[in-house]
């Protein structure tokens, strides 16, 4: 029982010392933003120590400049990303519109194939078949005959 009391008392003393140390260390904190969480200021060991900052003020200044540059870089990246996304979105919309227009145009377009013309080109002798020749006028047949007679 006595031992327990002693140990409890020593623990209390240790806790008081710890709190005192925390207050002292808070006074030395160089947290530039002074952000606190649940009433406790973030400890100095998270950021650069006050000592080193005092020794090298240029480093802090450079760090802030770097952070600022990073932030502005992020902002400009966001702007560029947004503009690119807008371009992509507008391109997609244009493609969609074009596709719909094309589909509509195809729907309204009457597609015809001149099969006899294609066949005549593929098989040039086919135009000299009796069936095809019978559909031609006599004048056409005369010019064809004369042309062939001249070649012969």
């Amino acid at each position: 029982m006595q031992l327990g009391k002693i140990s409890f008392g020593s623990t209390k003393v240790l806790q008081q010392n710890k709190q005192q140390n925390t207050i002292n260390s808070n006074k030395l904190s160089t947290n530039p933003f002074g952000v606190s969480f649940k009433g406790n200021v973030i400890q100095a060991d998270v950021f650069q120590s006050a000592k080193s900052a005092a020794e090298n003020p240029g480093i802090m200044q450079r760090g802030k400049l770097f952070a600022s540059a990073v932030v502005s870089g992020i902002n400009s990246f966001n702007d560029a990303f947004k503009s690119r996304m807008n371009a992509v979105v507008s391109f997609g919309k244009k493609i969609t519109t074009d596709v719909f227009d094309t589909i509509e145009r195809i729907g309204n377009t009457e597609i015809t194939f001149d099969m006899s013309g294609i066949a005549n080109r593929l098989f040039p002798d086919r135009q000299y078949s009796v069936k095809n020749l019978s559909n031609k006028s006599v004048d056409e047949l005369k010019s064809l005959w004369q042309g062939l007679a001249e070649i012969a």
Binding site: D125, Y128, S129, V130, L133, S134, K136, S137, V138, D139, L141, K142, L144, W145, Q146, L148, A149, I151, A152
Partner: protein
């Protein structure tokens, strides 16, 4: 396809053409005057198959054409075609007129021979 084969097809097409008179005129102009025996032979056949007064006159009464062709092959083909006609009336009428009235004796003799063949066919 050779040119002669194409011309033969043109002749066949003219033989069954709707514009009969124009087709006969073209066959008479180009076909019966062709230097090629085969073309003249086919032309005579096409004209006889038409079996009209105009087409038959060309092959029956003209010297050097149809049954009067100098080529025996052409003349024989024309005679065979005449004999193969279902309706020979028009051909017989023209042959009779030729026998009676034609100025050329050779044409008259040929017409007489063909007329006799047609009578017995």
């Amino acid at each position: 396809m050779e040119n002669n084969a194409k011309i033969k097809n043109i002749i066949q097409a003219l033989g069954q053409h709707k514009d009969s008179q124009a087709a006969i005129d073209l066959l008479t102009e180009l076909g019966t005057n062709s230097p090629d025996d085969e073309i003249r032979e086919l032309t005579a056949q096409a004209l006889i198959k038409k079996n009209t007064h105009e087409s038959l006159r060309v092959v029956l009464i003209h010297q050097g054409k149809g049954i009067n062709d100098l080529s025996a092959r052409v003349a024989m083909t024309a005679i065979n075609e005449l004999l193969a006609l279902k309706d020979k009336n028009e051909a017989i009428k023209i042959l009779d007129d030729t026998i009676k009235m034609h100025s050329e004796e050779d044409v008259k003799n040929t017409a007489r021979s063909v007329r006799a063949l047609m009578t017995f066919s």
